[in-house]
Amino acid sequence: MIETQHLNVQPALKRPDDFYNALVDMHRDLSEEQSQLANAKLILLLANHIGDEATLEEALKIATEGLN
């Protein structure tokens, strides 16, 4: 596990089930390629909203933790 200083890894969503459902739902009528594109757009939008490089770096690290 990676210790974070900037990224909030404690629960923050008020209705987690709703969000999770919306996320999966976003892809419902999309082809594999469109899904990839939608995910990429989502990441770019959220990253810009967060706007803090240190926070994003922690998220990038956690995202690949244990994958290689």
């Binding site: 990839q36 594109l37 990429a40 770019l44």
Partner: protein, 556 residues
């Protein structure tokens, strides 16, 4: 193919050096008369060093290679005497447009801050730059350019370098104190010396077509990602002088270069792009691949590598010739001080330090642009397309679109020649920065004034337009030193005040010089001969200035 430009042919001329019984010695010999070798020669002339340039060819660049010259390169070329011709002949542009598939995604304006002499960029064929440099060299007494003279051997001796030169009339030997190696990206001398330039080769090919056409397209930079007329690739359109337009098509790695550059294959691509009805003539085509790489060290004893021989970047972001010209801007004043015995030979190590740093910055920028333009994996392609799709409507994404970043000069932030700030300034002119420009006097420019190949000192007088007796004496001492005299410029001195001996009054009528340097009364800036800031203070202190000068010349 049509020729809007005839390459001049420069004759081989017999030199008395060929007949000398023992090898003739030159303080500085430069290998290669590309833009960077010639910039070195012209800079040597400005510094007062006798220099010899040797080139194996007899003409300027065949076909236009470099197109874009950035503000800083133009400022250096001004100092070397070629800037005005470049700007007069070149195309000044500010507006860039980016397209993705069928749509314009956004446009950007490089709109430089007002009140600088030179624009952000001009476009001009490389052969013009080189011709202007040759003309300028021919006007100099202390620099000589010998055509059809190929350097075939280089040997470093204890206190000089010996080289072998091959000419149509046979071989001869020369010696020099320093050999400046500007023999281009495939540097034969680099290989001869067993040195390497390493980095990344991009698995992609680009087709360049220079076409002549009369059109009412505006002088803007248009960049297409995946356009309808060239699916899957990118395309760039840029205007050069004489109605010549540069068009660049990304072809992919599997393209056959010999096939692709045949007019019968190029013309249909151009028609698809420009429209059937647009009339144009092909002037030059070539297919190129590119690399981003550099030598580990730019200095090897008495050999100093400059330009593409030392570092090579992809063309995106226009950093090849632009950064090469900054190499020699950095190097020649140092060579002068060392040859004159005013600085130790180790000052030349700072060339390596500062320009390797700059090369890394350029390599990073050009690699990133290349990665965006030609994504290397499906996922990076997805992110690239996602960015472009968002950029059309959402401003944040525009900052992520990278079709080549403006080539800006490096700030040598951590150079060992800098004296760190100890005072507070509300100005980004920190030590290591190339000086900003500002209008001064009657229609003159600050960078012209300090383009005198010397150390300069800029002093801001007291609020009431005077200088104290002590400061007057101190500045007089600096200006008249028989070690390294500093050319002193004084801003804000009222007309009734006499000017101390050996100093120059500067009128800052618009107040911009004072504003850009945060020139509160008593402020003093020390500039190196390449116009980079060495140190600055809020008050004059002779010992501190002497120490900063020693530092900036590698004496401490």
């Amino acid at each position: 193919m049509l020729q809007s430009h005839q390459n001049p042919v420069y004759e081989f001329v017999h030199s008395s050096d060929q007949d000398a019984p023992t090898p003739v010695h030159h303080p500085v010999i430069i290998v290669g008369a590309g833009p960077v070798g010639m910039a070195a020669g012209l800079d040597a002339a400005k510094q007062g060093i006798a220099a010899l340039i040797l080139d194996d060819n007899n003409t300027v660049s065949i076909g236009s290679r470099a197109v874009c010259y950035a503000k800083r390169a133009l400022e250096v070329l001004d100092r070397l005497g070629c800037g005005q011709r470049m700007v007069d002949k070149g195309i000044t542009w500010n507006l860039g447009k980016v397209f993705f598939r069928d749509d314009q995604v956004y446009s950007f304006n490089l709109l430089p801050e007002a009140d600088h002499e030179r624009p952000a960029f001009i476009n001009l064929q490389q052969y013009y730059l080189e011709e202007y440099m040759v003309d300028q060299i021919n006007q100099q007494e202390t620099v000589e350019l010998r055509w059809k003279s190929r350097v075939t051997q280089v040997e470093e001796k204890a206190n000089h370098v010996q080289i072998q030169v091959e000419t149509p009339e046979g071989e001869y030997t020369l010696t020099c104190d320093y050999l400046l190696v500007g023999d281009g990206a495939n540097s034969g001398i680099r290989k001869m010396m067993g040195l390497e330039s390493s980095g990344q080769v991009f698995q992609d090919r680009f087709l360049i077509a220079d076409v002549v056409m009369e059109t009412d397209f505006p002088p803007e930079r248009w960049f297409w990602f995946d356009p309808p007329f060239h699916k899957g690739g990118s395309t760039l359109l840029h205007r050069q002088a004489d109605n010549v337009w540069r068009i660049d098509f990304q072809l992919g790695w599997d393209a056959d270069p010999e096939e692709e550059k045949k007019p019968e294959n190029v013309i249909p691509r151009l028609k698809a792009m420009l429209g059937e009805e647009t009339e144009f003539e092909l002037e030059w085509t070539s297919v190129y691949t590119f690399q981003c790489r550099r030598m580990e060290k730019f200095r090897h004893g008495r050999l100093l590598f400059i330009g593409d021989a030392a570092h090579q970047v992809s063309p995106f972001g226009a950093r090849g010739a632009n950064s090469g010209i900054q190499d020699t801007d950095n190097l020649l004043w140092k060579v002068k001080l060392v040859l004159d015995g005013k600085a130790p030979d180790t000052l030349l190590d700072s060339y390596d330090e500062e320009r390797v740093y700059a090369a890394d910055e350029n390599l990073l920028n050009s690699t990133r642009s290349t990665d965006f333009i030609t994504p290397k994996s499906p996922v990076s392609n997805t992110f690239r397309n996602a960015t472009l799709l968002l950029a059309e409507e959402y401003p944040f994404a525009r900052t992520l679109v990278n079709s080549g970043r403006l080539s800006l000069p490096s700030v040598y932030h951590s150079s060992s020649l800098n004296t760190a700030d100890e005072d507070e300034f509300d100005s980004n002119m920190v030590p290591g920065t190339p000086s900003t420009d500002a209008p001064v006097n009657e229609s003159d420019w600050f960078l012209r004034v300090i383009g005198n190949n010397r150390f300069n000192g800029l002093f801001f007088a007291e609020q009431d337009g005077t200088i104290s007796e002590a400061n007057r004496n101190l500045l007089t001492t600096l200006a008249n030193s028989d070690d390294i005299a500093i050319n002193i410029l004084i801003v804000g001195l009222t007309a009734d005040q006499t000017l101390p001996n050996g100093m120059v009054r500067l009128a800052d009528n618009k107040g911009l010089l004072t504003e850009r340097f945060d020139g509160k009364p008593g402020t003093f800036y020390l500039f190196r001969p390449d116009q980079h800031i060495a140190a600055r203070w809020r008050a004059l202190d002779q010992q501190k200035i002497a120490a900063a000068l020693n530092r900036a010349t590698g004496r401490s």
